[in-house]
Structure formats: structure tokens, C-alpha cells
């Protein structure tokens, strides 16, 4: 059932509203009062005109007070209602954004990697689009139904058959909420896909700008985004047409109801049939029509809201799915703290495979004693980076365990550890490490306890960066102006600032000039804790106590340097 799956998508987004129930209630009260005010205004005006035309009597001072009061009240109520409901929606959106970030933080990078451009579309655009759902749906539907019930009750007192026409009309109008719902949903879904494709395309082009410019791809990318925009426009046009069609049909139904009410009440007023009993004074006729109109208009508004939800289903589903993403690493029930003292690292029968590929590691074991410096070798693509990623617990192995080992022999699986404790003990320097927008100081202090400027300056000295950069210098996104060697030095300084007990290094020395390579190797050699370096550089490996092979048999460890 399609409508059911759609309502499920939105229902999944309702729990964030729970803390906002006061606001919802307030918004409902204001909305209902405002709608009733407007209906009363219309009815009072029509009533006075009807009486003036038929009986030639002007309304009394009470009428004037009521009408002017309602005009003023209505302005204030409209403003307040919109203010309350929007403020509430924006609060909910802010919460959703953070809930989505938390979900991504648990699940990125996944084994099957998702494009950050797509993820960003969900977190920004898709969530923004839900503003309509949170600001205009629930309280407003309630207010509309209340108004309809009130006007129906009044009409049935005045003229039961008019109320019957209203009821039937409202039921027909209500069915229009489902007209072409499936088509609207599919269009919304395709639009959403175009949006995230476009976002992915733009992020790719910006991220690979040097390649794009060097290979002259700008005209092609511009043409592609332009074609994508044209496709999105065509979809938007079809969506607009569909919603316009439904709106127009609804108006047609509304018109038919108005005609029906006029006809019924005219009959009751004895206008259309000679000699029939007069059950409604002609002077009340305009008021009754205004009342019926106000009631039906409320139902029209409500169904219009429902119709406008259909294209949003795809986005709502994506947001809901994003929030429910499964974490890539398990969260321990009772996280263990990490005792002080040196730590070793142990891989015990570890297996791992990326989705849709041959297993990268099969029952692979290795043991690093506390304080030992070990090299990790293997051909390009053989899984060195995977070993390092498992040691930093970016992922959990599919079988086996990765453990930290204390000097006295006690071993603690990474999976049992409190995350903060793990991050405090293990640091990583790798080839894909990201330097973030901000100053050098900001970057060195990311995820690190408080450090004095003197400490940080000493670190810059130690990686011989102090001559070309200072703590207050801006790095720009991904360190745009730095060379590979400069980036590597800053990443090393950032890892050391954390004072880790285990240092993991992945292919950092490879692209460095001999001076930088020697410096990095010196700094690592002087590091007092345990070190695991993935590298194929003989110069780097020569300084290590032992070298293990990631591709070889589990026990194929050899002495290096010989």
C-alpha cells in the first residue's frame, strides 16, 4: 500500500516533535482561533449585507465592534501562529541536522563508501524541505478540522440539508488528497535524485579542480550540470502541473459545493419553487453561504497540505534512513577504561573484506610488544591500509579481534574500549589525512586535550615546520597551499600533540624528499611508544626493529635491515 508507506516515512520523523508538544498545542490553539476569526468575519459581513439588502436595516454598534475587533485580532493571530509554528519547525530541523550528523559520525566511512556530496544534500536540502511538514502540517490539519466541525454544526442548526451538501462536498474534497499521489511521490523522488546527483557532481568537480582545469573539463562539467538542471526543471514542471491539476479539481468541487449550497438554501428560502414553505429567511442566505464556504475552504486547505506532502516523501525517507544508518563499529555495553602504562598491539586471526570484493585479510595475526617499532609491508593494494584502519577501529574485523596489550600481558579488545580512551591512546598519521579549514593551532588541537602554545610551538620545531608556518596561520580547506611534505609534517605534529601510546603510520614517507623523510623517520624513531608503519620504502623500514608482511602467511615475519 503506497499511502501507507508514505505515512510511514513521515511517522518515522514524528518522534523529534515529542519535546515540542507545548509548541504544537499552542500553534493549534492560535491556528484554530485565527481560522475561526476569519470565518466569523466572513459570516458577520455576509449577514449584515444580507439584512441590509433584504430589510434595509444597518447593523448595530455591536456588529461594528465585533468586526473591527476581529480584523485586528486576526492580524495578531495570523502573525503569532506563523511565528510559533515556524520557530518550532526550525528548532526541529536543527535537531534533525544534529541527529543526522550523529548517524553519519557512527557510520562513515562505511565499507561501501557514500559520496559526501550526497550525504550533504540529505543533511542540508532534504532537511530544509521538511520545514513544510513540521511548520504546516499537524497543528494546521487539526485547526482546519475544528473549523469544519464548527461550521458544519452551525449549518446543521440553520438548515440541515445545506449541512448535508457541505458534508458530502467535504468528503469529495478530502478524496482529492489521494489523486495522483503515487505520481507526485515518484516525481518527488526523481527530483530528489537529480538534486543529490547534482550535488555529487559539483563536489567532485570542486574536489578535483586541478584535474578538471588541467584536462579542460570545465565546458563538459558546465554542460552536464546544465543538462541536469534542465532535467530537474522538466520534473519540477510536471510536479507543478500535477499539483495545479489537483488544486484546480478541488476548486471545481468547491464551486460545485457553493452552487449546491446556493441551490439548496434558495429552495429552502422558497425562491425556486412557488408556494413551498419558507424555512429560511432570505436575509440569512448570504450568511449561510459564507459559513458553508468557510467550512469547505478549511477542508480544501487541509487536503492541499496533504497533497503538497507527496513529493516530499522521498526526502523524508532519505532523512529517516540517514538517521537510522547502522553504525560501522559496535558500541560496547560496558565500555572499559584503559589503564595507564605502555601498550602493545595484537591482531588475532583477523579477517576483513570490502563489500563486493575478495577478502583483503584472512585469519591474519601479528603481535607488537609495548614499545616495539614494526614495519608493515606488502604490494600496493594488498591491504596495508586496511590493517591500519582496523587498528584505529574505523571498522571492526569480520572475524578475529584487534587488541591492545599491557606490559603485564593483559589484553583489551578495541571493541570493548570506551571510544575516548581508545582515541587518547592510539594516533594515526596517514596518506589521506585531512587538514581542516582554520589555523594551525585549531588543527593541532583537534580532539586533543588542552595544550599550551609553547608545547605546540615546540612540536612545530620538532617537525621543522616552525620556519615556514606559525600557529596563527590559516591553512585553508585541506591545506591548499601546502606541499605534500609540509602536510605530512603538520599531520605528524597533530598526532604527536595527542601524546599517544600507539602510533600508526600509513605511507607517509613515500612522497617526501630525502630531508623530510629522514626528519619524519627520526621523529618516529624517537617516539617512546609502540609504532606500526605501513611502508614500502627500504629507507623507512631499515630503521625499524621488525617487518611483517600483510600478504604473506600469518607467521611470515622477518627480521629487517639484514
Amino acid at each position: 500500500m503506497k499511502p501507507l508507506s508514505a505515512s510511514r516515512a513521515f511517522r518515522a520523523l514524528l518522534p523529534v516533535l515529542r519535546p515540542q508538544w507545548r509548541g504544537m498545542l499552542w500553534s493549534y490553539v492560535l491556528g484554530t482561533a485565527s481560522a475561526l476569526g476569519l470565518a466569523a468575519l466572513a459570516v458577520l459581513t455576509a449577514w449584515a449585507v444580507g439584512h441590509a439588502v433584504v430589510e434595509r436595516t444597518p447593523p448595530g454598534p455591536l456588529w461594528w465592534t465585533l468586526v473591527l475587533g476581529l480584523v485586528l485580532l486576526r492580524v495578531v493571530l495570523t502573525w503569532r501562529e506563523m511565528d510559533v509554528s515556524h520557530a518550532l519547525a526550525y528548532r526541529v530541523l536543527a535537531r534533525l541536522r544534529m541527529a543526522l550528523f550523529d548517524a553519519y559520525a557512527r557510520s562513515v566511512p562505511g565499507r561501501r563508501r557514500e559520496h559526501s556530496g550526497r550525504a550533504a544534500t540529505v543533511a542540508m536540502e532534504d532537511i530544509e524541505k521538511l520545514e513544510f511538514f513540521y511548520a504546516h502540517t499537524i497543528a494546521q490539519l487539526g485547526a482546519a478540522l475544528t473549523l469544519f466541525a464548527a461550521s458544519l454544526a452551525t449549518a446543521s442548526v440553520l438548515l440541515p440539508e445545506a449541512a448535508l451538501v457541505m458534508l458530502v462536498g467535504a468528503a469529495v474534497v478530502a478524496t482529492s488528497a489521494l489523486y495522483w499521489a503515487g505520481a507526485a511521490r515518484r516525481l518527488g523522488e526523481r527530483e530528489q535524485r537529480e538534486r543529490s546527483d547534482l550535488s555529487e557532481h559539483i563536489v567532485d568537480a570542486l574536489g578535483a579542480l586541478r584535474e578538471v582545469l588541467a584536462y579542460g573539463l570545465v565546458p563538459r562539467i558546465v554542460a552536464e550540470t546544465s543538462a541536469a538542471t534542465a532535467r530537474a526543471t522538466a520534473l519540477a514542471r510536471r510536479r507543478e502541473l500535477l499539483s495545479q491539476l489537483v488544486t484546480a479539481l478541488r476548486e471545481l468541487i468547491l464551486t460545485a459545493v457553493v452552487v449546491g449550497v446556493i441551490a439548496t438554501s434558495a429552495t429552502a428560502a422558497g425562491v425556486l419553487t412557488e408556494g413551498a414553505p419558507v424555512r429560511l429567511a432570505p436575509a440569512e442566505l448570504p450568511a449561510l453561504i459564507a459559513l458553508a464556504l468557510a467550512g469547505i475552504a478549511a477542508v480544501v486547505d487541509a487536503t492541499d497540505t496533504l497533497t503538497r506532502l507527496h513529493p516530499l516523501v522521498a526526502g523524508a525517507e532519505r532523512v529517516a534512513a540517514g538517521i537510522r544508518r547502522p553504525p560501522v563499529v559496535s558500541v560496547p555495553d560496558a565500555p572499559r577504561r584503559l589503564p595507564a602504562g605502555p601498550l602493545g598491539l595484537r591482531f588475532r586471526e583477523v579477517s576483513f573484506s570490502y563489500e563486493g570484493r575478495q577478502p583483503t585479510l584472512r585469519s591474519w595475526s601479528v603481535d607488537l610488544a609495548p614499545g616495539e617499532h614494526v614495519g608493515l609491508v606488502g604490494p600496493s593494494g594488498s591491504g596495508k591500509s586496511t590493517v591500519i584502519a582496523l587498528a584505529t577501529r574505523l571498522w571492526d574485523p569480520s572475524a578475529g579481534t584487534v587488541e591492545l596489550v599491557r606490559a603485564e600481558g593483559e589484553s583489551i579488545p578495541l571493541a570493548d574500549l570506551d571510544d575516548a580512551a581508545l582515541r587518547g591512546a592510539v594516533a594515526l598519521v596517514d596518506q589521506d589525512a585531512v587538514l581542516f579549514h582554520g589555523t594551525v593551532r585549531d588543527n593541532l588541537l583537534r580532539g586533543c586535550g588542552p595544550r599550551s602554545d609553547d608545547d605546540l610551538a615546540a612540536l612545530l620545531e620538532r617537525v621543522e615546520a616552525a620556519s615556514w608556518i606559525g600557529l596563527d596561520d590559516d591553512l585553508g580547506e585541506a591545506g591548499v597551499r601546502l606541499s605534500g611534505g609540509q602536510r605530512a609534517r603538520l599531520c605528524l605534529a597533530r598526532a604527536l600533540a595527542r601524546r599517544p601510546r600507539v602510533l600508526l603510520v600509513d605511507e607517509v614517507t613515500a612522497s617526501l624528499d630525502p630531508t623530510t623523510e629522514r626528519l619524519v623517520s627520526d621523529v618516529i624513531a624517537a617516539f617512546p611508544g609502540t609504532v606500526l608503519i605501513a611502508s614500502h620504502r627500504a629507507e623507512t623500514l631499515a630503521r625499524l626493529g621488525r617487518v611483517v608482511d600483510v600478504a604473506g602467511s600469518p607467521l611470515a615475519a622477518r627480521e629487517a635491515g639484514g
Partner: protein, 566 residues
């Protein structure tokens, strides 16, 4: 009524679409007026007990409603067309203005804010252009007609309605300036959040290993709250407009009703006129109410406009503008004589060139105290590999960017066979090559041959063919964002294969073997030696083992090149 001149200009670029949209809107409106007249007639017929008139009037009401259904569909289509055309034009210009070399060295540039501007920002203007602009034109055309009709019925009613309309339209202008300021704040926080969010999504692995997820969460939460506050402020300002409009509409309607009552009571007019006054005055406000609705739907989108303007989305460029060309012209005025063919496509004309000559080249970054490259001379010839060595930060990458035309030299010239070097003469393998999301094949064929045999040959030469063949889907294996699903070494060799396929006379390679083991590294160097026989190849390298057979090794030091012992 808020006028954004930039968007009006954009809409006016498509006069036919705009005119169609407005004309249909006017027709839709006239159908509403017609219906109002029919309703007034039917009510007065009911009052006077004219049964036949009642039936005629009621069928007229239904007929007009059917006609409007058709008209409103045509109008919706025309409006969407107009909005789409404008969106497409603005995005094309914004994309072209965003993909420029200046961005490569800009420490203030954030990909996430650019993404927000190019995607969401451009989409945001649609509502204003497709709905609001035609609605204003329609309002200016039709409201006077209705007011005149009302004046004919009752001068006072006409005056009241006119006053209401003017108040509704002009009232919000009082706080236009404040709205503009708040809009600016809103978009700034939207961009800032978007930038931080994209950066943290891209760097999530680093954030997790740094244990900075919670710190980043706090930062993003601050940004998100700032955005929420800014959105609320814009919304409150915009609701002011709604409230004023509402007050004017209701006030005007009540005033008109009072006058209709006065007419009826004093017996100046028959019933039908009283009803007409009432219904017409309500219709007169319909465009104002529509305008308010469209404003509410589009006001957040408008906040992106100053940001888009900053990018250059509203500045008309030449359609075939070469994004790399202008940067080159200062250094080499002769470049102006080159046909403005963008650096796209394979340089099929003449893949062979003999000499690349750099003379007196100097460059410094805008805020740097001294030159990175100073009075540098370099001659590289076809036939043998040229290697450049130098300490980290010595300016090797800057030199490559100067050759590529991504930076404009302060002085000096770069010539290929005595004509200025162009970007499209060069194939490049950068130190950290980036691959696009897509298949391996998509990545290889960006700038050159697409035949299977050529791909295989290039990949064999780059030493990556065996590994590609080992993937279950071969060349059609999907590559994730930035190529992160491949190892560093695989990325490097694919980038080399891509450069070989581009068949350009100059090949620049930056550390081509850094992520490779000794055997593969030797293969790649051998390939480069072979390629150097018919192309000019310049390689940046630190590996002494890669330099043993290279005849010309130059060392970059303090912005100068010297011949160095191999």
C-alpha cells in the same frame, strides 16, 4: 512588494516565457472576476425569486470554473518553464565562474559553501522568478481595472480598496533594508554550516581517528543554531509582510462591505450592485494574497542572491570563455591571438613538440614577502626525461602550476616551440591525484581515446592493467569519491594512464612512484623513459633510484634551478 532588480533582469532575458506566464495569469484572474460577477448575479436572482436567472448564473459559475482549470494548468507550465530557464542560465554562469584556477590557492575557499550556492542557492531563486515576478506584473495590470470598476459602482468602495492595496504593497518596503541585512546573515550561516558539514563528512575518518567527533559536533551545533536563529529572524521580518497584507486585505474588505451595506440601506442601488461591490473588492485583493503566498514560498531563496552575486552568477561572460586563458594573458600577451578554444578535448592537432623553454620566470603569492620562484630558466626537450629535485616547499608544485597556467607569473615567459604554452598542451599527474566518482573507464577517458585497446595499452604502460583485470568488473569497476576505494599506488598509476591517454605534447609528473613498491616503481620509470622519446616529460622526484638513468636532473633551490649531479 519586494523588487530584486537582479532577478527581474534575469527574468527579462526570456521575454517570451515571461510574457506567456503573465498573460495566462491575467486570464486566470479575469476568470475569477467573471465568477464573482456570476455569483453576485445568482445571489441577487435568488433574492428576487428569478428561478431561470438562478440556473443560468449557476451554470455560468461552473463553466467558468472549468475554463479556469485549463487556464491554470497552462499557466503553471509557463511559470515552471520560465523559472527553469532562469535557473539553468544562472547555474551555467555560476559554475563557470566557480571552476577557475584562482580557487586552487585560495585559503578562504570552502567547497561546502560553493556547493550550497551552486545547488541550493540557484534553485532558491526559482520561486521568485517563476511565481513572484509574473504575480507582480499581473497585479499592476489587473488591480487598477478592478479598482476602476469598483469606482464606477461606488467611488468610496473603490477608494477604500485602492488604499488597502497600496498599503499592502508599500507597507513592507518600510523594512526592506532590514530584511536585506537579515537575509545576508541567513545565507552566511547557511553557507558556513554547509561548508563545515561537507568538510566533516569528507574528513570523517580523520575526525574519528582524532577522537574529535564530539568537538566537531559542538561546532556544527553552534553553526546549526546560528542558522536557526538567522532563519527565524528572516522569517519574522517576512511575517511582518504577511501581517500587513492580511490587515490591509481584511480592512479593505470590511470597508467595502460597510459601503455595500450603506448603499443597500439608503436604497441607492439594487441588490446586485451591493453584492458586486462585496465580491469585486474581495477579488481585487486576490493578487495581493497570491503575492504574499509566493513571497512566503520564496523569501528564503532570496537570501542566496548576494552570495551568488559574489561568485559571479549574474555577470554575463562570453559563452566560450576559457577559464584558463585570462590568467595566461599577462605573462604572454601573444596568447590573445590563440583562438579561444577552451582547453578541452584531446589536442589532436600536433601531439609533438620539441622544446619547452622557460625564461626569467618569477612568482610570489599575493601575501608572501618574497618570490617562491625567482628568475628561473628551464629548457626541456623531447627525447629524454627531465627531472626536478628539491626540498619540500621549495616551489616545485608552484612551478607546475605556473606551467599549467593556474598561476600568473610576475615576470618571465613560458614557451613551447616559441609560442606560448597552453594548458591543453599539457597532461599532468599530480602528487595526490584525484579520481572522479564513476567507473575506472569514465576516469580514463576524460580527455582522450576511448577504444578498449588504447585503454589497455595505457594501463599496461602505467603498470596497473593486471590489477584492473583482477577486479570482478574490470574497467567498469566503480570508483568512490576522490578515488578513495583504490590504494594510493593504484590511484597514482591510473592517473598516469589517464595522462598517457590524453596524448599531449608535454607530460608533467609529480612524484609518480611515491606510493609504489620497488618493482612497480622501476616499471613506471621505464615507461616514462619510453614516453619521453616522443614527448617532453618533466618529472618531480626525490627517489634517487628513479633518477639514475635521467640525463637532465635539475635541482630547485630558493626559486632557482641548477644542474645537479645525477
Amino acid at each position: 512588494m519586494m523588487i530584486v532588480p537582479l532577478l527581474w533582469r534575469e527574468a527579462a532575458r526570456f521575454p517570451a516565457a515571461l510574457a506567456r506566464s503573465v498573460a495566462l495569469l491575467v486570464l486566470v484572474f479575469l476568470s475569477h472576476v467573471g465568477q464573482a460577477v456570476a455569483i453576485a448575479w445568482s445571489m441577487s436572482a435568488v433574492l428576487h425569486g428569478q428561478a431561470r436567472d438562478v440556473f443560468v448564473a449557476l451554470s455560468l459559475i461552473l463553466g467558468i470554473a472549468l475554463l479556469r482549470l485549463v487556464l491554470s494548468l497552462a499557466q503553471a507550465s509557463a511559470a515552471a518553464h520560465l523559472g527553469g530557464r532562469v535557473r539553468q542560465a544562472v547555474r551555467r554562469r555560476a559554475m563557470r565562474a566557480a571552476l577557475v584556477p584562482a580557487r586552487l590557492h585560495d585559503t578562504a575557499a570552502r567547497d561546502g559553501s560553493m556547493r550550497a550556492g551552486l545547488g541550493d542557492g540557484v534553485d532558491g531563486i526559482d520561486a521568485y522568478v517563476s511565481k513572484y515576478v509574473p504575480a507582480i506584473v499581473q497585479l499592476l495590470l489587473t488591480c487598477p481595472i478592478v479598482v476602476i470598476a469598483l469606482v464606477a459602482l461606488s467611488p468610496w468602495a473603490g477608494a477604500c480598496v485602492a488604499a488597502g492595496i497600496v498599503l499592502a504593497l508599500a507597507g513592507p518596503l518600510a523594512w526592506k533594508r532590514m530584511m536585506a541585512r537579515r537575509g545576508l546573515d541567513h545565507w552566511d550561516s547557511y553557507e558556513a554550516l554547509s561548508a563545515d558539514l561537507l568538510e566533516s563528512l569528507r574528513g570523517m575518518a580523520t575526525l574519528r581517528t582524532l577522537g574529535d567527533v564530539s568537538g566537531t559536533r559542538e561546532r556544527l551545533d553552534d553553526r546549526s543554531e546560528a542558522l536557526r536563529r538567522a532563519t527565524e529572524r528572516v522569517m519574522r521580518g517576512s511575517l511582518g509582510e504577511t501581517a500587513v497584507t492580511d490587515a490591509a486585505v481584511q480592512g479593505g474588505a470590511v470597508a467595502a462591505a460597510a459601503l455595500a451595506i450603506a448603499h443597500a440601506v439608503t436604497g441607492q442601488a439594487p441588490a446586485v450592485e451591493a453584492y458586486l461591490i462585496l465580491l469585486l473588492s474581495s477579488e481585487a485583493f486576490r493578487p495581493v494574497r497570491d503575492l504574499s503566498r509566493h513571497w512566503h514560498a520564496g523569501f528564503l531563496g532570496l537570501t542566496a542572491i548576494p552570495g551568488l552575486q559574489r561568485i559571479g552568477a549574474f555577470t554575463e561572460q562570453r559563452d566560450d570563455a576559457d577559464p584558463v586563458g585570462p590568467a595566461r594573458t599577462d605573462a604572454a600577451p601573444a596568447a590573445a591571438t590563440i583562438p579561444p578554444d577552451p582547453g578541452n578535448g584531446p589536442a589532436t592537432d600536433d601531439p609533438c613538440a620539441d622544446t619547452l623553454e622557460v625564461t626569467g620566470l618569477s612568482f610570489r603569492y599575493p601575501d608572501a614577502p618574497e618570490d617562491v620562484i625567482h628568475d628561473l630558466d628551464l629548457t626541456a626537450r623531447r627525447g629524454a626525461l627531465t627531472a626536478i629535485v628539491g626540498a619540500s616547499g621549495a616551489g616545485k608544485s608552484t612551478l607546475f602550476d605556473l606551467l599549467l597556467g593556474f598561476l600568473t607569473p610576475r615576470a618571465g615567459s613560458i614557451e613551447l616551440d616559441r609560442r606560448p604554452l597552453r594548458t591543453r598542451d599539457i597532461a599532468v599527474v599530480s602528487q595526490r591525484p584525484v579520481l572522479f566518482a564513476g567507473t575506472i573507464r569514465d576516469n580514463l577517458t576524460v580527455a582522450g581515446a576511448t577504444a578498449e585497446a588504447d585503454l589497455a595499452a595505457a594501463c599496461r604502460a602505467a603498470g596497473v592493467l593486471d590489477e584492473i583485470r583482477r577486479f570482478p568488473r574490470g574497467f567498469d569497476t566503480e570508483v568512490t569519491e576522490a578515488g578513495t576505494s583504490l590504494s594510493g599506488g593504484q590511484r597514482q598509476r591510473l592517473a598516469l594512464a589517464r595522462a598517457l591517454l590524453a596524448r599531449r605534447p608535454v607530460l608533467l609528473v609529480d612524484e609518480p612512484t611515491s606510493a609504489l613498491d620497488a618493482d612497480r616503481s622501476a616499471d613506471v620509470i621505464e615507461t616514462l623513459h619510453r614516453v619521453a622519446r616522443d614527448r617532453i616529460v618533466i618529472m618531480i622526484s626525490h627517489r634517487s633510484e628513479t633518477l639514475t638513468e635521467v640525463p637532465h636532473v635539475l635541482s630547485l633551490d630558493a626559486g632557482h634551478l641548477h644542474r645537479s649531479a645525477p
